[in-house]
Amino acid sequence: MSNDRAQSKLFPTTIWLVLVALTIATFSLGEAGLSGKGVMLTLLAITMIKSQLVANYFMALRKTKFLWRAIMFGYFIIVGGLIAMAYLMGLK
């Protein structure tokens, strides 16, 4: 427990910085006007990491039953997977 407390001071800040960095990465990819399968998958991967960081550490689901984390992860897999599928359909 004491270990948890020691890390809890800096830990959220680290997560926050990672989220900021990933947002800037997403924005830069957009500004560069890149498109295509690889870029789309990269952007979705970044989004997946960001969403799960928020779910596990900000929402603090990491400490709860596996089921709740599974719901948040499964949600992204289903929604993100369908988005990817739709994108690939659009490529023809």
């Binding site: 989220l19 928020v54 900000f58 929402m59 039953k65 992204f76």
Partner: protein
């Protein structure tokens, strides 16, 4: 109030490891999951509608301000971070600090709303409505629906701030703070998906 009171026993709680319950009142999680479902359906609907109108969607997407979208992402992420700090503070029984952090989050929510209003205004000034085309229909629907959630989240934060100022919480009783925090993180979570989907991916 004990959050277990309304717990639907979805899972066997006899596991050997001690796992915490969902943070906050269980009732808020029913909403969170329902909201995520609604947004999820809209996200997927956007993607599949786009697949049939790729050029239209790509062209219309260029008219959005990616910069304001990105700034708003940073704003929400940061406000979520403040909320995390606020919860950490109240777990140590520090009502005042908790109120400070949440006030910061609330103000950032205000910044988000301000930027969003400027964005909406620009679109309406250009005579763009939900009937203009499918892209704008989704863009306006999704961002407006999300916008309403930001406002709702700000109202919830405001109520918690007022209570924390009155030192109504303690290191033992902070379910109310966690309940509002969970809702606010959901608002952030959804925007994290919405931003790349609608503003960036092409």
């Amino acid at each position: 109030m004990n959050p277990n009171l309304v717990n639907i026993h979805l899972v066997n709680s006899n596991s050997t490891h001690h796992k915490e319950d969902l943070p906050g009142d269980f009732a808020i999680w029913i909403f969170i999951f329902a909201e995520m479902l609604a947004f999820g359906v809209l996200f997927v609907a956007y993607a599949f509608t786009r697949a049939n109108n790729v050029e239209l969607f790509n062209a219309s997407q260029l008219t959005l301000s990616r910069t304001s979208g990105a700034i708003n992402t940073l704003v929400l992420i940061t406000s979520s971070y403040f909320v995390v700090q606020g919860v950490a503070a109240i777990k140590r029984g520090l009502n005042k600090q908790c109120a400070h952090w949440l006030t910061g989050a609330f103000l950032l929510g205000g910044v988000f709303v301000g930027i969003k209003i400027v964005e909406f205004h620009a679109k309406f000034a250009a005579d763009i409505t939900m009937s203009t085309n499918n892209f704008y229909m989704f863009y306006l629907s999704l961002t407006f629906f999300h916008f309403m959630h930001v406002l709702m989240g700000m109202i919830i934060l405001a109520c918690i701030i007022v209570k924390a100022r009155r030192s109504a919480y303690s290191a033992q009783d902070y379910v109310g703070v966690e309940t509002g925090a969970s809702f606010w993180h959901m608002v952030d979570f959804l925007w994290i998906i919405l931003f790349p989907l609608v503003y960036i991916i092409r």
